[in-house]
């Protein structure tokens, strides 16, 4: 705590000195949920500093933006609900219902409804974010976790950590149409933006399964090998594709690295050293910067996507978990740094 407060004070100092020079420039704001601190850190993508800290409910984890970019939606897992904050003013807007222990939310491509995995009751809950009501519950495997949405909005992919499957569910009628076995403890399901593939990371299995959603089959399995790191420590979680789907970035947990994978040949090209226990990844909308949440070292690493290099670490709150960028550059609310 003390450490973080000092860091925040420093950030506030540099902010005010900058403000003397020029007016606040518009930049993307990166929202990082801090699981153990019950806050969301707001990072300015130009300054690469924490410019604000939002107080949230208990155990904030999965974090996304509404389709219009106006709302930040956070799963506050221990409160068994989600919270909505204004992306510009950082003010609390409202609560949204979920099942017990919501972990990862995803929106339908049309912007509503929202689908959220409830880790504690083997259900995915469908929520109308405007009405604030639960539409229905979909039974899935044990400990539902990862949530992927096909770009055409027709298929939702949910992973279950103890059942070790990717469940394909239709968004029209909520029918479970296929259950694909992947390796142990699947965490994240991510579609390529052209819908041609969905990648599922397996944290304990140590692999990423490439699934063809048309055939509903695993077509390839990606393995990782890092010299000097035992296989056990390579635990893939977050997966993101670059703008043209040519490369994938895969967060490898306690291996403290992000793998860069050729998304056509599935060859691992490179490992970028980041902070400790890296879990989730988020691009700025221009795909120039990638932010990684490093749970154990309480920071995010900023990766320059063009050069594939880590350019900065930014201290956040305790145990940063999820990350999402604002859709457009936002003028800083300028209400100081962390309180």
């Amino acid at each position: 705590m003390t450490l973080f407060k000092n860091a925040a004070a420093l950030a506030a100092l540099s902010l005010s000195s900058l403000a003397l020079g020029a007016g606040p420039a518009a930049a993307y704001k990166i929202f990082v949920s801090n699981e153990k601190e019950n806050t969301v850190s707001v990072i300015d993508s130009e300054k690469l500093e924490v410019v604000h800290t939002i107080k949230t409910g208990n155990r904030p984890r999965g974090i996304i933006l509404s389709k219009d970019g106006k709302w930040v939606i956070v799963c506050t897992s221990d409160d068994n609900r989600m919270q909505v904050f204004d992306a510009e003013t950082y003010q609390f807007v409202k609560d949204l219902p979920s099942g017990p222990d919501p972990e990862l939310p995803i929106l339908h491509t049309s912007g509503n409804p929202l689908y959220v995995s409830n880790e504690d009751d083997n259900l995915v809950t469908v929520v109308d974010i405007f009405k604030g009501t639960i539409v229905t519950d979909i039974p899935v495997g044990v400990e539902p976790e990862g949530m992927g949405m096909s770009p055409d909005g027709k298929i939702l992919v949910n992973t279950s950590e103890t059942t070790n499957m990717a469940h394909f569910i239709t968004t029209d009628g909520f029918k479970n149409v296929e259950n694909i076995l992947v390796d142990n403890r699947p965490r994240v399901a991510e579609f390529k933006s052209d819908g041609s593939e969905v990648w599922v990371s397996a944290e304990i299995g140590g692999t990423v399964s490439v699934i063809d959603p048309a055939q509903k089959k695993v077509t390839h399995k990606i393995n990782f090998e890092i010299q000097g790191i035992t296989k056990d420590a390579i635990q893939p979680v977050g997966v993101r594709f670059n703008k043209d789907n040519t490369k994938a970035f895969v967060a490898l947990g306690p291996a403290n690295r992000v793998a860069v994978v050729d998304a056509k040949t599935y060859k691992v090209e490179k490992y970028i050293l980041v902070g400790q226990r890296v879990w989730n990844l988020g691009f700025t909308p221009d795909y120039k910067l990638l932010f990684t949440t490093n749970g154990t070292s309480n920071d995010v690493t900023v990766i320059d996507v063009a050069s594939e290099k880590a350019i900065k670490s930014i201290k956040t709150g305790r145990y940063p978990w999820g990350v999402v960028s604002s859709l457009t550059p936002i003028k800083s609310a300028e209400n100081g740094a962390a309180q």
Partner: protein
């Protein structure tokens, strides 16, 4: 699941530690539920049958009948001797036994059996886990208090082996003899408060006092009562265990919650060990997409088999004696303190093999075929 009822076993000192009637069984039940949630998607169904008796011979005969009638997987809560006897009785049948309770070294070593796997950690694994942490703390000077029961002596043997392995010194050993008497009474602490300081007087200068008391019949008397102000570890104070009801690491929270909803109590190590056994079967059935016991058994023996069990890494069975590799939690009554293997204890294959008897040292020959 085969359970040996042990009505003559003395209850532990603390009311908090009284074993519930479904100790272990509830863990197996949760794993059946977990297997069936997955099985629903693959059209597989799992069911649990319970065989209980005070008489090991009856348990073995009953189990053999069930196996001959088609059951392929047996989870045991038995002492070491009947565990091996059961394995011999089932020899040649298509069945595999998971020892979920007995920590004895011999049934993993010289008396190992090819149809016997172990989800319970061995005493050597537990002692190594503790010794690594004490080495990390640089608490290398030990004194050892050993109870009179054979299992206390076996636990002390494991501690001596670990001390040698990790360069710790046991400066003195004392046997704690006692007459258990009645477990529950309205008084008692007045005398204990006098007795333990006297008993621990004039020990050589040490960093930590270790207690070997598997029955939990006197170990809890030592913390805060020793002559010297030293921490207590072993079976009391800081103890090594496969599971602790306060673990929230590695997705453990949801696992603990699921268990509590099912059993209306906290998950104990025996529950966890039975859960791992039944989940191993489910995992193999899922991966082979088969309910054929031969296929499942052969998959479990293959290097592809791995189990996710809320320990932050995959668990696998040692190919030389059927022991499940697993991180060991070091905890006090309320919470975990750390998890071993400790940083810096390296191994050419997996750090988990720094805990317990490793391949080059094993006396098990049943798997060499």
């Amino acid at each position: 699941m085969v359970r040996q009822l042990r009505p003559d076993r003395l209850p532990p000192l603390s009311l908090l530690d009284l074993p519930p009637k479904d100790d272990g069984l509830a863990g197996a039940r949760l794993a059946i539920d977990d297997n069936n949630t997955t099985g629903r998607f693959l059209k597989q169904n799992f069911a649990l049958e319970l065989i209980e008796s005070e008489d090991p011979a009856e348990l073995i005969a009953e189990t053999k009948k069930k196996v001959e009638a088609g059951i392929g997987f047996v989870v045991t809560d038995l002492d070491a001797k009947p565990t091996v006897e059961l394995a011999d009785a089932l020899k040649g049948l298509d069945a595999v036994i998971f020892n979920a309770s007995a920590p004895d070294e011999n049934i993993r070593e010289e008396d190992c059996r090819a149809n016997l796997k172990h989800t319970a950690p061995s005493r050597a694994m537990l002692a190594d886990a503790l010794a690594q942490y004490l080495a990390w703390k640089r608490w290398g000077n030990w004194v050892l208090i050993v109870g009179p029961a054979p299992e206390d002596k076996a636990y002390a043997d494991a501690l001596r082996r670990s001390a040698q392995r990790f360069g710790m010194k046991i400066l003195e050993e004392r046997e704690f003899k006692y007459d258990p008497g009645s477990r529950r009474s309205d008084g008692g602490f007045e005398q204990i408060q006098q007795q333990i300081p006297t008993f621990t007087q004039k020990l050589p200068p040490h960093d930590v006092l270790l207690v070997a008391d598997e029955g939990e019949l006197f170990g809890e008397y030592f913390p805060y009562r020793t002559w010297d102000a030293r921490p207590v570890a072993g079976t009391a104070g800081l103890f090594p265990t496969s599971w602790h009801p306060a673990i929230e690491l590695w997705g453990g929270t949801q696992f603990q919650n699921r268990f509590k909803r099912l059993a209306s109590r906290n998950m104990r190590p025996l529950d966890y060990q039975a859960w791992m056994a039944v989940r191993s079967i489910g995992e193999a059935a899922t991966r082979t997409r088969s309910v054929d016991r031969k296929a499942i058994i052969s998959y479990m023996l293959s290097p592809e088999f791995e189990l996710a069990a809320f320990k932050g890494r995959k668990l696998t069975y040692r190919a030389w004696n059927g022991q499940l590799r697993q991180p060991i939690v070091l905890a006090t009554g309320k919470m975990h303190v750390t998890v071993s293997p400790q940083p810096g204890f390296l191994h050419q294959y997996t750090e988990l093999d720094t805990l317990g008897v490793d391949r080059p040292e094993t006396k098990c020959r049943a798997y060499n075929k």
